[in-house]
């Protein structure tokens, strides 16, 4: 039976259905779908309509592997630093299952958590022109647009900052993909046909997030 939604309901459903998906089948993403995803990015808002985004579509297996290795290396350094300073233990303090905790630590500190680009049928490196006022915000809007279109198409994606967040890794990513000096490598979106849909991660309730007129006074007195 076909479900029908109002435009608002359909929009909210796509937003709520989006997950960070890191495992895909080998099925390729069609060019029609890819074009829709890129068009969604192109339609994002930008300060002064600067449209600073540029997209590099990566499908080549060798490049994907290198991108996966760069991401894994960056994450491994970052999360191992968190681990040795016990920040990671604090972050996972509520997880009581010691085996699960150990597995999570291993996944994070080894960098496996971010190596998935190597297995994604398609990755898009989102780059931003530096010589505009609002590039990080503009490109983030383009990324979210693309993530939502990927979800609407029944595909799965993960937004990945690991190959770009540390200046050392960003330089290598830029070199790998030939990004010129005037552009920043912002993020990678890896996507394809997913193998399974993970559960939604918890979200803080609105009554903890929204204030009335000034910071501090809850807008909602109870959970909405």
């Amino acid at each position: 039976m076909t479900e029908t939604y109002s435009l608002a309901e359909a929009t909210m459903k796509v937003i709520q259905d989006r997950r960070s998906i890191r495992a895909w089948t080998d099925e390729p993403v069609s060019e029609e779908h890819l074009a829709l995803i890129l068009e969604a990015g192109r339609q994002a808002p930008s300060g002064e309509n600067a449209q600073p985004w540029r997209f590099v579509v990566v499908k080549d297996e060798t490049t994907r592997r290198k991108l996966g290795a760069l991401s894994g290396g960056g994450s491994s350094r970052r999360f191992t630093a968190e681990y040795v300073t016990h920040q990671m233990h604090e972050r996972f303090a509520s997880l009581e299952d010691e085996e699960k905790k150990k597995a999570a630590f291993e996944k994070l500190t080894s960098g496996q958590v971010s190596q998935f680009s190597a297995n994604a049928p398609v990755s898009i490196l989102v780059c931003g022109k530096k010589d505009v006022w609002d590039m990080p915000y503009d490109t983030s809007a383009a990324i979210e647009n693309m993530l939502l279109m990927i979800t609407a198409l029944g595909l799965g994606a993960c937004w990945l900052i690991a190959p770009c967040i540390d200046i050392r890794d960003e330089e290598k990513t830029k070199e790998l993909l030939g990004i010129p000096e005037g552009f920043k490598a912002v993020s990678v979106i890896s996507f394809g046909h997913f193998t399974k849909q993970p559960r939604q991660r918890p979200r803080l309730p609105l009554n903890q997030l929204v204030f009335a007129e000034r910071w501090g006074e809850a807008y909602y007195k109870e959970q909405v």
């Binding site: 491994s76 191992t80 540390d166 200046i167 050392r168």
Partner: protein, 153 residues
Amino acid sequence: MSKETIARDYANDLIFELEKAMWDERGKGGRFRLTTLGREFYRAKCRPRLQGRPDIEGIVATVLATLKENGITETLKVEQDGRLLKLRIGGCLHRPVEERMMARETKPFACVPANLVVLAIDEVLNRPAELAELKLEAGCCQALLVLFDERTT
């Protein structure tokens, strides 16, 4: 490097303001944008002295000698425990920057001497390293580095 100098307070004020601006803009992730801070100095002053393939101790000794000669730090002690490297940096001319960060409730997140050691280990030994923690102690700063295995590619 130019022999002309600028007032130390003036330089540290500027560094503080830039670091604080980075923190205000980028938050905790700001530290990932300062991991190469000091690279020009490294290339000009440290790299030429790192001949051959010195071990960690040799690398730290070379970085320290360079820092001392240039009046940046007085001491740099190293203690290795497996993949952890503890650096104790004494008499650093940038210490007031970190103190001002602390006074503004911002944990210090960038350290040039630690970065120089990381850059040297990476380049000389082909081993990634990461600054995990920076602590201010009486008379010195303690930087905790994590060492990773040599890259295979």
